[in-house]
Symmetry: C2
Subunit: 328 residues, 2 copies
């Protein structure tokens, strides 16, 4: 019995889900839902209907799992609890500080509707969280480091675009190589924000704009740039489109720790990602967890889960026997 998936929201993440579903034979994309006028949505999958978000409850019995592709700032805090009562859902809520609160409200809704939900799925939160948990449980006497990049930060790119005189911008977060090396060597360094990452900005300015002022405003922007070594390059719109249209990202979770009667032996565990497309990889993680959500639901395991709760075998299309035989 194939898993019938609905996609709610059709931005970068929704498109990533659309293509990820094609790579999983046990899944079938059955509907898109949008808050726009459905007739205006051009998807890449012909034959799959686009419905208005307002009508979604009509399709309760046609969908095994609904993947929510809205933003964490305003969409998901409302949508996920509202929909978790009627559907099994997965979201990628990534406002770290508000996860416990979001978990509680989605859990209440899912239990009320006897559904299974999973929040904060993707790679951070998501696979990186999972690796922090595993590494910390294995090496209790140790220390965690998370490095992000080289990759595009959407939030920082947006912040630059709000500066007067800026037409478009792309910001890359870059881990400091010497810091990464010290951590990988098990040296457990103390690292400030500035010592861990640098920020590189490619900016298209309006003709005649004061480039010095723009550069200064970027570099002095509190929270976003002031605590980092930031470089700014002014480029043309053509160059931006040619060289910076991708959405690559990645990073590493590294834990180093000691074992032995006197802590005489050091160990380094590293989980790292190099991603050509941040939203497509995030979507690929979400689709694997969507499968797990449906399995948990079919077992009557209701409520809101996270990646930390899910037994790994539930993620794979293969049977447990086959996984034990081929992977263990």
């Amino acid at each position: 019995m194939s898993i019938r998936v609905g996609i709610f929201g059709y931005g970068n993440l929704g498109r990533g889900i659309e293509s990820a579903i094609r790579q999983n034979d046990d899944m079938e994309l059955v509907a898109f839902f949008t808050r726009r006028d459905p007739s205006t949505l051009i998807t890449k999958t012909s034959g799959v209907p686009v419905y208005s978000a307002n009508d979604i409850e009509k399709y309760k019995n046609d969908i095994d799992v609904l993947i929510l592709c809205g933003g964490s700032a305003t969409d998901l805090p409302v949508q996920t609890p509202a929909l978790a009562q009627h559907f099994c859902v997965v979201d990628s809520f990534d406002t770290h500080a508000r996860i416990p609160e979001h978990l509680a409200s989605v859990d209440a809704a899912a239990r009320k509707g006897e559904k299974t939900a999973l929040i904060s799925c993707g790679w951070d939160p998501g696979m990186f969280s999972l690796n922090r948990l595993y590494a910390g449980a294995i090496l209790p006497d140790g220390r965690d480091y998370t490095f992000w990049g080289r990759g595009v930060s959407q939030g920082h790119s947006d912040a630059i675009r709000r500066i007067a005189g800026v037409v478009d911008a792309r910001q890359y977060t870059i881990p400091v190589e010497s810091a990464l090396e010290a951590v990988r060597a098990g040296k457990n360094p103390e690292l400030t924000t500035r010592e861990k990452h640098t920020r590189e900005c490619f900016v298209v300015a309006e003709e005649g704009a004061d480039l010095d002022r723009i550069e200064r405003e970027i570099k002095e922007m509190p929270n976003y740039f002031a605590d980092y070594d930031t470089t700014v390059h002014f480029i043309s719109m053509e160059e931006l489109k040619r060289d910076h249209s991708g959405i690559p990202h990645g990073g590493s979770v590294i834990r180093s720790g000691k074992t032995g009667i006197d802590g005489e032996n050091s160990h380094v565990i590293e989980y790292s990602l190099k991603l050509d497309s941040n939203p497509e990889f995030t979507a690929s993680v979400i689709v694997a967890y969507a499968r797990a959500v449906v399995r948990l639901y079919r077992e009557g395991n209701y409520g809101c889960k996270t990646v930390l709760d899910v037994p790994p075998v539930y993620l794979s299309q293969k049977s447990r026997d086959e996984l034990v035989k081929t992977l263990l």
Copy 2:
């Protein structure tokens, strides 16, 4: 309520378990069991009794989880099923081809005795298996590579020691750097055995032994060395003791795969380990899973599990709420 742990077998792994337990506040080492004369066993933990393996069933009610530290060739296939009926157990059975059979026999015993067991724990099988599962579920259109080393292979070192004229030996398995680089770059190369790893041997020979013959016998040994580029260094016993007394190991599980409507984006997931002490790291993984086994048992979840089955939150000493708040 702290977890009462017993150690069965006191070789390198048993000593690793002994020190790992000290790093986990919720665990208490309550007994060692040995097939030797208990009075001859000198442990590093004073005050913890050493009992004969023959008397173990007397201590059924004093131990929450028993960690089996015997070998996979002859000890564990017999010991784990025999003990799983009376104790919650964890072992590190690592004969990959025989895992399904071992799982079945331990599962039958554990279910009969209403106990929980976990087999094939450590890093490979273990954390590497888990990472093959996660990466494969996330990137179904991709390819896995496992590299081992640089590290000491006990089996290969033993094979060299069986050659006439050899007093002692240490063998290192070394991944081929160019192969690793091609895989990390997402090139999905086809690699033969010889192209993935080399083998480096440090050999102490008897005085007057025919070194050319020893070197030839090593390099031509089927299964162990014939398929690899092998280098042999003859050294003194002093050098062996000074430079090669550690048991380092490590390696990487790498999966690269494609996403997108036309497979246009590539991604690389890598999990890597750099370990000063193979047995101590293996022990650290086992101790985390021993905690999980006790939790599963207390919930009435009996039978034989593997690392692929265990929800990650069960591994940590911290509560789920705290993990969600601090790691997700």
